[in-house]
């Protein structure tokens, strides 16, 4: 019996969300008196993997098939299911990325297991019961869910688990291959188009996010958001009307019908704080709101606020941030 963790790579590095999953997995393994193994797939360099030992992982299985650099669910599933069976994994940990959610649900059927996505805390384990806390109702509530199946699959919400730095030493890395055939890649993408990311910060992975709303008046003013983001090493985001009007691309739209993020710091500029917007950002650790209307609902959800004109305030912030 063991705990298996899926590790995803991006540009050769291990994703931060995968380090969180690894940390989660090794703590579950400790609680169960067993060991945590990682299965690394995709675009990650072998030399980066031994560092998973610091997360408490003892062994890393590494499938370096280059065809896996693109996410192809069928192929990934085969690799993970095989690793799970080799390691007799009873608990499988993903990060709640698009990939993790896509795999978790299919694996739950394949292994006849129980799945919880959007999980925000370590499980409470007592005897046979394994209960996790997950975010529901768009961050407005939590549910405690008992996973009753034989195999428990957990997709951990980003930025809800601290990455440990001293849980162990280095992990041993073993090549792992299941002999994938061309048929396993029948649904490979025809084309992959990556966005330009300023300074390489992906919005879903970002620790700091600077976001703009309709209060910024038009796309020609977005340099304010971008310059502040650059000075802070942040990713940029926006409200729905902003992407609806094509001031910004759709993938930047956060909220109920956009993406959900949980960075350490979310800075909202000229955004009113409609409940649908809050749904995508309310689990951010610290929220800053800049709005000229002191009655803007967003201030109720904020940790820090400035009432005033964004066109005067943001340049001051950029200056202060550059001076850090």
């Amino acid at each position: 019996m063991s705990v298996l963790v899926l590790v995803e790579g991006f540009n050769g590095e291990i994703k931060k969300s995968s380090l969180e999953a690894a940390s989660y997995g090794s703590q579950v393994a400790n609680a169960l008196g067993t060991e945590a193994t990682a299965i690394a797939i995709g675009e990650v360099q072998e030399s980066a993997l031994a560092a998973l030992g610091a997360q408490g992982i003892t062994k890393v299985l590494f499938d370096d098939d280059a065809r896996l650099h693109n996410f192809v669910a069928e192929a990934y599933l085969k690799v993970i299911a095989q690793a799970a069976s080799q390691e007799s994994a009873k608990v499988i940990i993903f990060s709640n990325t698009n990939i993790g959610a896509a795999l978790g649900s299919r694996l739950a059927v394949r292994l006849n297991g129980s799945l919880a996505t959007n999980v925000t805390a370590l499980p409470v384990i007592s005897g046979d019961s394994f209960t996790v806390r997950r975010g529901v109702f768009s961050g407005k509530a939590f549910a405690d869910v008992n996973l009753t199946g034989d195999v428990k699959i957990v997709a951990v919400k980003k930025n809800s688990i601290d990455i440990s730095s001293d849980a162990g030493g280095t992990a041993s890395v073993e090549k792992f291959s299941v002999g994938l055939s061309d048929a396993d890649f029948a649904f490979a993408p025809k084309e992959t188009v990556m966005q330009e990311t300023d300074g390489g910060v992906l919005l879903p992975e970002a620790e700091i996010v600077v976001s703009g709303g309709r209060g910024l008046k038009g796309p020609e003013n977005w340099h304010l958001v971008e310059d502040l983001a650059k000075a802070l090493g942040a990713a940029t985001a926006c409200s729905k009307p902003v992407s609806d009007q094509d001031w910004r691309p759709h993938h930047e739209h956060v909220g109920q019908t956009g993406i959900t993020i949980s960075p350490n710091l979310y800075i909202a500029i000229g955004i009113s704080g409609a409940i649908q917007h809050l749904a995508g950002v309310n689990s951010s650790k610290v929220i800053v709101v800049i709005n000229k209307d002191p009655e803007a609902p967003f201030f109720k959800a904020a940790d820090y606020g400035i009432v005033g004109d964004a066109f005067e305030i943001v340049p001051k912030l950029i200056e202060a941030a550059r001076a850090l």
Partner: protein, 246 residues
């Protein structure tokens, strides 16, 4: 083309969420229910495809009788007929088994869903249905066009970009913005919806793999600290030294 659109019935996006005194279940009192917003993107795209290519759009919901108002709304928007599996949607696995059973019986060319339901935020049902039926799942798709009668071209969001895929029917796709522009039912739609077929069937199997033990709400923020606009730069030092997030 025969299209199945799965819709869930969820609290309106502006709802305040409350639970019963014992924290064991969701308190529906005073809550307005709507078609899951993501499912509206799927529904409208299905109707657009039907309008362009012919075929039928069936909507499916696993739910108790009180979901019928929103099923009728989907019919008013333009679906042809509807199926309700008469059961409380216990968990994703249970719902997926119901949907898969209906799909096996009727062999649809295309099964469209939303990216996630905004009540339980699972993002699970589409993957489970695809796996139960042994067909591909494209999650999350924001563009879907038919190249010819058997193959679709989709664009799917990945972290840091997008992928373009060509997939043969049948498959499952879960929709997100901007796949389509959701429609509001018109008067004629509302009138005809009343007479469109809505079949109620009983659930099969048990399925559930999880038990919801209790619910709770996040702690309230301790209150906002206001900074004078004149000294806006002070925010940056507070974020570094007090909040410790820089």
């Amino acid at each position: 083309m025969k299209i199945l659109v799965c819709i869930s019935n969820v609290p309106d996006t502006t709802s305040k969420i409350n639970f019963t005194g014992d924290g064991k279940s969701f308190d529906k009192n005073g809550v307005q229910f709507v078609i899951n917003p993501w499912d509206e993107y799927a529904l409208t795209r299905a109707i657009e495809l039907k309008e362009a290519k012919g075929g039928t759009v069936t909507v499916l919901n696993v739910g108790e009788a009180d979901t019928e108002a929103n099923i009728r709304k989907a019919l008013a928007i333009g679906a042809d007929d509807a199926i309700r599996v008469n059961a409380f949607p216990k968990d994703a696995m249970f719902v997926a088994q119901q949907i898969a059973a209906i799909a096996k019986e009727n062999s649809y060319d295309l099964i469209l869903m939303g990216k996630e339901s905004i009540d339980f935020n699972g993002s699970q049902v589409h993957g489970m249905v695809g796996e139960l039926l042994g067909i591909p799942v494209i999650f999350p798709a924001f563009k879907l066009d038919m190249i010819d009668d058997t193959t679709a071209r989709l664009e799917r969001e990945i972290e840091g970009g997008k992928e373009v895929l060509e997939v043969k029917l049948p498959f499952v796709a879960s929709a997100q913005q901007p796949m389509s522009e959701p429609r509001i039912p018109n008067m004629r739609g509302i009138m005809t919806a009343r007479t469109k077929p809505l079949k109620v069937v009983e659930p099969t199997g048990e399925g559930a793999q999880t038990e919801y033990a209790s619910f709770s709400k996040p702690e309230k923020k301790s209150g906002v600290r206001m900074i004078d606009a004149e000294n806006a730069g002070e925010l940056i030092s507070l974020l570094r030294n007090e909040a410790k997030v820089l």
